[in-house]
Amino acid sequence: MIDQLIDSFKKFELQLNGASKNSWHQIRKKAMESFSEKGLPKAKNEEYRYTQLGRILDKKFQFSDLSMVGRDSIHGENILFHDADAYHIYINNGIVDKEINSSLIANGLIILTLQEALGKYPKDIEAHLGNYSNKNNDAFAELNTIFSYEGVFIKVEKNANIDKPILLHYSGTDHLNQSIYQSRNLIIVESGAQVEIIESYSSFEKEEYFSNHVSEIVVEANAHFNYYKLQNQSNKTYHVDNTYIAQEKDSVVTSYIFTLEGKIIRNNLNFALEDQNCETHLFGLYVAHGDNHIDNHTVVNHKFANCFSNQIYKGILDDTAKAVFNGKIFVQPDAQKTNAFQSNKNILLTDTASMNSKPQLEIWADDVKCSHGCTTGQLDEEQLFYLRSRGISKSSARGMLLHAFVDDVLDKIKIDFLHDFVANEMNNRLD
């Protein structure tokens, strides 16, 4: 497979014309070196222990041609939230649609493709692109660094308060049969700025493809950033998402991830708290059915004192669905007075569903308060009985309890149209 990739990389280099000399390409080469040493995660890789992605992808997909894929026309009206009050950007098969892009204007907001940004904001690109994803050595992030060409560059200028959320529509079509798409974002929220970004993933056709996404996000001092991901692809799509968020002093970041559909979905969400007084919230909700396989890995790395992080991830598993949760909290020696909390709760609806949970705390500082809690079980018999004794049918009692279970995550959504959509999906799924 690695040989295939090296060939593919050579083809890719030829397509780049003169671009193979710029700094971005040096990052690609570096990632290629690191990747070719280890390849995709093997069976015994601890990080991919419960999600044998390497093996599955190797069998299913052709790694011989990872070069740029042709653009497909996008049918705007078919896309979820196309009429929502937001700044829309469409990304199909990993390629940014420029026409729709050009209608975007707001004070202090800059949205470009990465290629454009390379010309206009070379300093930002040089300072940040690949800087976070390469440190982590995740094979899929490296694969993305090697082959991604296009992507979205968002810069929110100092003290700008963006009035509407930015909505990134990701979709995939399978015109090459079992294609692999790479998409990439670089988001810079400058000091004092406020912005909300939504990434919505959907697919038009129920065909197999593998999308491999990387987002690198820098949130500067005193900035506020709300970051939503809605993963609602088809039950044949494979999706790997690597997100790296670096927070600076006094910044507040809230991330939300809603996973509703996908054959195998793997999310690596990495927070690095690079200065004091950062606040981080992580909310997650996954509702898996059929043979969905949903894997959430999160890392919160506390490097400095007086930071706060709180994580709530909840899941409901039906049919033969599988879910994996691994939440790591690191508290480095200098991060005194850290408060870090984590909770993962799961409900299994059938005996064929399974849940693997691994909450992990690693602490090197003494003056901290850290805790994690993790529960897995079914609906409480006594609660069901209570409702039924008051004349509520079994199925609606069950629905009520499931709703109550997901509600404390749903309530956290601050964007109405997104909240309504997710709540509505929950209604359809749970009743």
């Binding site: 909450p359 602490i363 897995t376």
Partner: protein, 481 residues
């Protein structure tokens, strides 16, 4: 703050108090491991042919294995050819009374504060004293014999009860289980064997005192406890070792097998030499402990107080195979100076209505690293399984680390699994509360730590609880009084 620093200073400078060496003439094998050494051990132990075959099979498998590197501990690579695999105290004749025991040996026990005669006379504990791999003394054997309980050294069991050994040896920890268990299967020199017959409730606590002696000796103990239908036994294991500069390897295997309605309670106090305060020397403790709840309604309970060893690497586990079986794990692990511990428990639920509890309390001080690593696995057919895990860590000083790696794997919807973990230092408000009531900071810390570990210490048998508290205090001396 200066008070705190002073306490930490004292704490990190406290020396290992049980460091001394008994001068007993040794009968040792040459350094290194190969088939000849294994034949030598087997011949020395006058073992039957089948036992030797088992050892050789394990050895041949062992050489194909690689040393595991996944635990969260760091140490220089062990040279397995630099270890003496057999060393026995000279007087090997069977002893009937304490008078025949080497006086120097008795002196050793006296220094430890648990002299055989005291134990024998006052507490009614039968002690199978293991000094450097060979049992030299077994007390209370006759009393136990009347009930049909077999409690003897492993080598004696191989000679006298070969059927039981053949049936149960390796039934819980198979020969090929892991790197160190396989090594142990090949070279184990002695250990204890305990068999409780049907319906018998063992009237006393059974206890083995492990003690590492003789420089450069790896100690490979093998313990096998079989509790037949409806029986009960409480088993104690405790250890101290002399001060020494080179690292010593200890790779023991403990197997527990319980039939229907049987219950085994296994308690450990581990206080091997933890290395000097600069992190030099100390014991490497790589132990495989596992219990199988074979029959319905059976119960296995592990309690451990871990204060010693430079590196501790052990996961007492329960396989809950029988319906309604119960597994428990209570642990206090204290690390100080440069000690490293990676310990926890595995609860594997296979039967219906099985129930397990994990309570783990870690205390790290000095420059030590303390990890909890555990697995709770609910199998597809394990209806109504229940698990509660709690692992708390207490940090003392800003140079130590606490880590938790719980694995929770659930394949059945009727399971109820809860896991909780907290990490914190002793709250300033708690200390203030005590100060305010006239308790000085040092005593306040002692009070709080004792309260913190109480849940586990309470599970220890009387005789052990006292010693465990002493050890806890000793390990954290200066800060917990």
């Amino acid at each position: 703050m200066s008070k705190d620093n002073q306490i930490l200073e004292e704490l990190t400078s406290s020396e290992y108090k049980y460091g001394f060496e008994t001068l007993i003439e040794n009968d040792s094998a040459p350094k290194g491991i190969n088939e000849d050494i294994i034949r030598f051990i087997s011949a020395k132990k006058e073992e039957p042919e089948w036992m030797l075959e088992l050892r050789l099979k394990a050895y041949r498998h062992w050489i194909t294995l690689e040393e595991p590197t996944w635990p969260n501990v760091h140490y220089p690579k062990i040279n397995f050819q630099d270890i003496i695999y057999y060393s026995a105290p000279k007087p090997r004749k069977e002893l009937q009374s304490l008078d025949e025991v080497d006086p120097e040996l008795l002196e050793t026990f006296k220094k430890l504060g648990i002299s055989l005669e005291e134990q024998k006379r006052l507490s009614g504990v039968a002690v199978d004293a293991v000094i450097d791999s060979v049992s030299v003394k077994t007390t209370f054997k006759k009393t136990l014999g009347e009930l049909g309980i077999i409690f003897c050294s492993f080598s004696e069991a191989v000679r006298e009860h070969p059927d039981l050994i053949k049936k149960y040896l390796g039934s819980v920890v198979p020969m090929t289980d892991n790197y160190y268990a396989t090594l142990n299967s090949a070279v184990f020199t002695d250990g204890s064997f305990c068999y409780i017959p049907k319906g018998v409730r063992c009237p006393m606590e059974l206890s083995t005192y492990f003690r590492i002696n003789a420089s450069g000796t790896g100690q490979f103990e093998r313990t096998l406890i079989v509790a037949d239908e409806g029986s009960y036994v409480s088993y104690l294991e405790g250890c101290t070792a002399p001060q020494r500069d080179e690292n010593q390897l200890h790779a023991a295997v403990v197997e527990i097998y319980t039939e229907t309605n049987a219950e085994v309670k296994y308690s450990t106090v581990q206080n091997w030499y933890p290395g000097s305060k600069e992190g030099k020397g100390g014991i490497y403790n790589f132990v495989t402990k596992r219990g199988l709840c074979k029959g319905n309604n059976s119960k296995i309970s592990w309690t451990q107080v871990e204060t010693g060893s430079a590196i501790t690497w052990k996961y007492p586990s329960c396989i809950l195979k029988g319906d309604n079986s119960v597994g428990e794990f209570y642990s206090v692990a204290v690390t100080n100076n440069y000690q490293q511990a990676d310990t926890g428990s595995k609860m594997i639920h296979l039967g219906k209505n099985t129930n397990s509890t994990i309570i783990s309390k870690g205390i790290s001080a000095g420059k030590s690293q303390n990890s909890y690593r555990g697995l709770v696995k609910i199998h597809k057919r394990a209806e109504n399984a229940r698990n509660f895990s709690q692992c708390d860590s207490l940090l003392m000083g800003d140079k130590c680390g606490a880590h938790t790696f719980p694995y929770i794997e659930i394949d059945n919807s009727s399971a109820k699994v809860e896991h909780e973990a907290t990490t914190s230092k002793i709250g300033e408000d708690q200390i203030f509360y005590c100060n305010q009531r006239g308790i000085d900071t040092e005593n306040a810390v002692a009070l709080i730590v004792n309260g913190y570990a109480k849940e586990v210490l309470n599970k220890l048998p009387m005789e052990f609880a006292v010693e465990a508290q002493k050890l806890l205090a000793l390990t954290l001396e200066g800060s917990v009084g």
